[in-house]
Each structure stands twice: as structure tokens, then as C-alpha cells.
């Protein structure tokens, strides 16, 4: 499979995944702890079940102050994280098993019920999916090179073991 064909297929699948998520827009926050988190955002309190919510809760709050509704912010984050997971897993699959397998993995991530559902309900589970996908991708690179590489956010700052 040529690179051109691969990237066309890849972006077609990603676009299909985005369209499916857009036509499945959630009317309000109902899933699990989402109503609790919306309440916490409105009152600026931490009436949450679990302590780990705070960093992502702050991200929601910051986005909500930038003109989005609180649930709009949560939806946007879960959509972005969900699509980020699709891209990370497809790229990891390409490294490990080639372009044909990568496209197949992208289909499973884009249209599978669970990744699709948790990319649109505004819940924080999409963060778990994105981080695990990123770990799988970077872990795949590490297992190939056996080198730790840290790039800090300024030019020329690459630490390599």
C-alpha cells in the first residue's frame, strides 16, 4: 500500500469518526458523574466522588470561561481526547504491523461502540483512553529503540539516555 493511499484512507476514517460523533451530539450531561461535575463547576466547589477529577475539572472550567457552556466544554474535551486516541492507536498500529493493520485499528477506534460513546458523553473516561493510547504509541517506539527521549518545550532541549 502506497503512502498516498494509506493517508487518504486514514483521513477518510478519521473524518467518518468525527461525523459519527457530530451526529450523535449529546443534548445534556447525563452520564455517570457528569451532572455532579457540572454542578461543581456552577458552584465552584469540589462536591465530587473522587479526588482525581480536579485537573480535568480545571480544564473544563477554563474552557467554560472562554465562551463555551460548561457541558459544551466537557463535550469538546471528550471529543478531542477520543479522536486523539484514534490517531495515536492508528499510528502505533502502523509502527507495529504496517499500514493495512493501522487502517483496521483506526476503523475499530472510530466506529466501535465504546470509543464512540465515550467521545460524546462528556465523561472523563476519554482522558484514560487518550493517555493509554499515548503510552501504547510511545511504548512501541521505546521498545524499538530502547532509549528514553524527553523533549522540553524550548528549542534544542532534548534529553536522551
Amino acid at each position: 500500500m502506497s503512502a498516498k493511499v494509506y493517508w487518504r484512507g486514514f483521513w477518510a476514517i478519521v473524518l467518518g469518526g468525527v461525523i459519527m460523533r457530530l451526529i450523535s451530539l449529546c443534548p445534556f450531561g447525563f452520564y455517570g458523574d457528569v451532572p455532579l461535575q457540572l454542578g461543581a463547576m456552577r458552584t465552584n466547589t469540589v462536591e465530587l466522588n473522587f479526588p482525581g477529577y480536579m485537573p480535568i475539572q480545571l480544564l473544563f472550567s477554563v474552557l467554560a470561561r472562554c465562551g463555551l457552556t460548561p457541558f459544551g466544554a466537557m463535550w469538546l474535551v471528550s471529543l478531542t481526547f477520543g479522536m486523539g486516541s484514534v490517531i495515536y492507536v492508528a499510528l502505533a498500529a502502523r509502527r507495529e504491523a504496517g499500514p493495512a493493520f493501522s487502517l483496521m485499528a483506526a476503523v475499530v477506534m472510530s466506529f466501535g461502540i465504546l470509543p464512540l460513546y465515550f467521545s460524546v458523553v462528556g465523561a472523563t473516561y476519554a482522558a484514560d483512553m487518550l493517555c493509554a493510547s499515548a503510552m501504547v504509541f510511545h511504548g512501541s517506539i521505546f521498545l524499538e529503540n530502547r532509549k528514553t527521549r524527553v523533549t522540553l518545550p524550548w528549542p534544542g532541549s532534548v534529553l536522551e539516555s
Binding site: M54, L114, M129
Partner: protein, 238 residues
């Protein structure tokens, strides 16, 4: 951004990578990164909770599954339903790839995925699993067949295209055509809670309930629900 327990399980994967590197510089760099992350997490979270003790106390809201064999078997059934319904053809493909290409398996990649996915899965068997908890396992599940590559490179394009098309067709039918049904019995309640609510129609209707809350709300037989959960539901929990 992750839930603390999920990030804790990801550390098992990190530990496997570090063990593979056997390089003290990698350990130092990772140690610094982990310490900085923990520091940042505490700096963000602690002001809202007041103290470390208060933050720790807030974890007491964890609702751990009912003990005993009945609870464990129920959990085991739940553990199976979500991946079977959500990944159907893909699970068959994983099984086929593992059986057909076991000899050419990529051992480090397989152990890396297993290092965080297996302990987390074991927790799900004990804990009350809901579909959201599977998000950590999804990337590992999708990458699993890549650990069993065919001995000769190339090929498989036709097979992969067929599996992709079949998976997409089933998944889109599940997503677009399935609808939650009125709850009249334990069977319809379970179907709604574990399968039918996870659809576009379920989202549009804002449907999310546990089986126990469905049973309570519809005045159905609640003998199967542990008394502690009944009390929690009566207080407005889920």
C-alpha cells in the same frame, strides 16, 4: 488528566518499559517526570480539598462490588458483556491471530500490553464494572493482534479490508439502529443497562442507569440487590 487509579495501573506499563531499558538514566528521567507530575497534581488538587487527609477521605465514596460468589459472578458477567457487545468481530480476530501466529509473537510488545491491562482487568472483576472503565483497556485490545504478526511480511490486505468492513457495518448498526426498550422485567432492565443504552438513541434520550436503579425505579424484584446498594440508591446514589 487521568483518574488516579487508571494512571496508577499505567505505571505498571511504565515499570515494564524501565525494566526493559535497564538504564539508570532512563530511571532518573522517569523518576523526575513522575515526581513533577505528582507535585503538580497535588498543587492543583490540595487547595480544593484543604488537606491531604481530606483528599484521602473523599476516596471513601468508592463503591466496591458485593463480596461473595454471587457478586463476583455478576461482575464477571458484566466484565464479559461490554467487550463482547462492543468488539464482537475484533475479539474473534484477536483469537484467530493468537492461535494462528503464536509462534511469531512479539514477546516484549505482548508483555508491555499485558503489564497494565491484565492487573486492571483483574480489578474490574472485583469492582462493579461499568462501560466507562473499559476506556483504559480499549487501546490495548485494539493493539493486541499486532503482537501476533504473520511469519512472512506483507499480504493480509484483503482479509483486513473484509474485517474492517464487517466491523464497521455491525458497529454502525448497533449505534444507529439499537434503541432502549421500556423496562418490564429483569431481562429488559439488564438489556437496557448493559447494551441498549449505549446507542445514539440512548444518548439522545439521556439514558444512563445501573440495573439496580432501573429495578428499584420500576418496582421490580430487588432481592438480587445487596442491602447496602439499596440503601445507597434510596439516598439518591447510582
Amino acid at each position: 488528566m487521568m483518574r488516579p487509579l487508571s494512571s496508577g495501573f499505567c505505571c505498571f506499563g511504565l515499570a515494564y518499559l524501565l525494566w526493559q531499558s535497564r538504564d539508570w538514566r532512563a530511571w532518573v528521567i522517569t523518576g523526575i517526570a513522575v515526581a513533577l507530575t505528582l507535585g503538580l497534581y497535588a498543587a492543583i488538587s490540595l487547595p480544593y480539598y484543604g488537606s491531604l487527609a481530606a483528599m484521602y477521605r473523599s476516596t471513601s465514596a468508592l463503591s466496591v462490588g458485593d463480596g461473595g460468589w454471587t457478586g463476583r459472578l455478576t461482575n464477571l458477567a458484566r466484565v464479559g458483556i461490554y467487550p463482547i457487545y462492543g468488539f464482537h468481530v475484533w475479539l474473534v480476530f484477536i483469537l484467530w491471530a493468537a492461535l494462528a501466529h503464536w509462534r511469531s509473537r512479539k514477546r516484549p510488545q505482548l508483555l508491555f500490553l499485558a503489564s497494565f491491562a491484565v492487573p486492571y482487568f483483574m480489578l474490574l472483576v472485583h469492582y462493579i464494572p461499568q462501560a466507562g472503565y473499559y476506556c483504559l483497556l480499549i487501546p490495548a485490545l485494539v493493539m493486541l493482534p499486532a503482537c501476533f504478526p504473520p511469519p512472512a511480511p506483507g499480504g493480509g490486505l484483503r482479509l483486513f479490508t473484509g474485517i474492517s468492513a464487517l466491523f464497521a457495518a455491525i458497529a454502525l448498526c448497533q449505534w444507529l439502529l439499537v434503541r432502549p426498550q421500556p423496562t418490564t422485567s429483569l431481562a429488559t432492565g439488564a438489556a437496557n443497562a448493559y447494551i441498549l443504552d449505549y446507542s445514539r438513541s440512548g444518548i439522545k434520550q439521556g439514558k444512563f442507569e445501573t440495573l439496580a436503579s432501573i429495578m428499584m425505579k420500576n418496582n421490580l424484584d430487588t432481592n438480587m440487590i445487596p442491602p447496602s446498594r439499596v440503601l445507597n440508591l434510596q439516598r439518591g446514589g447510582s
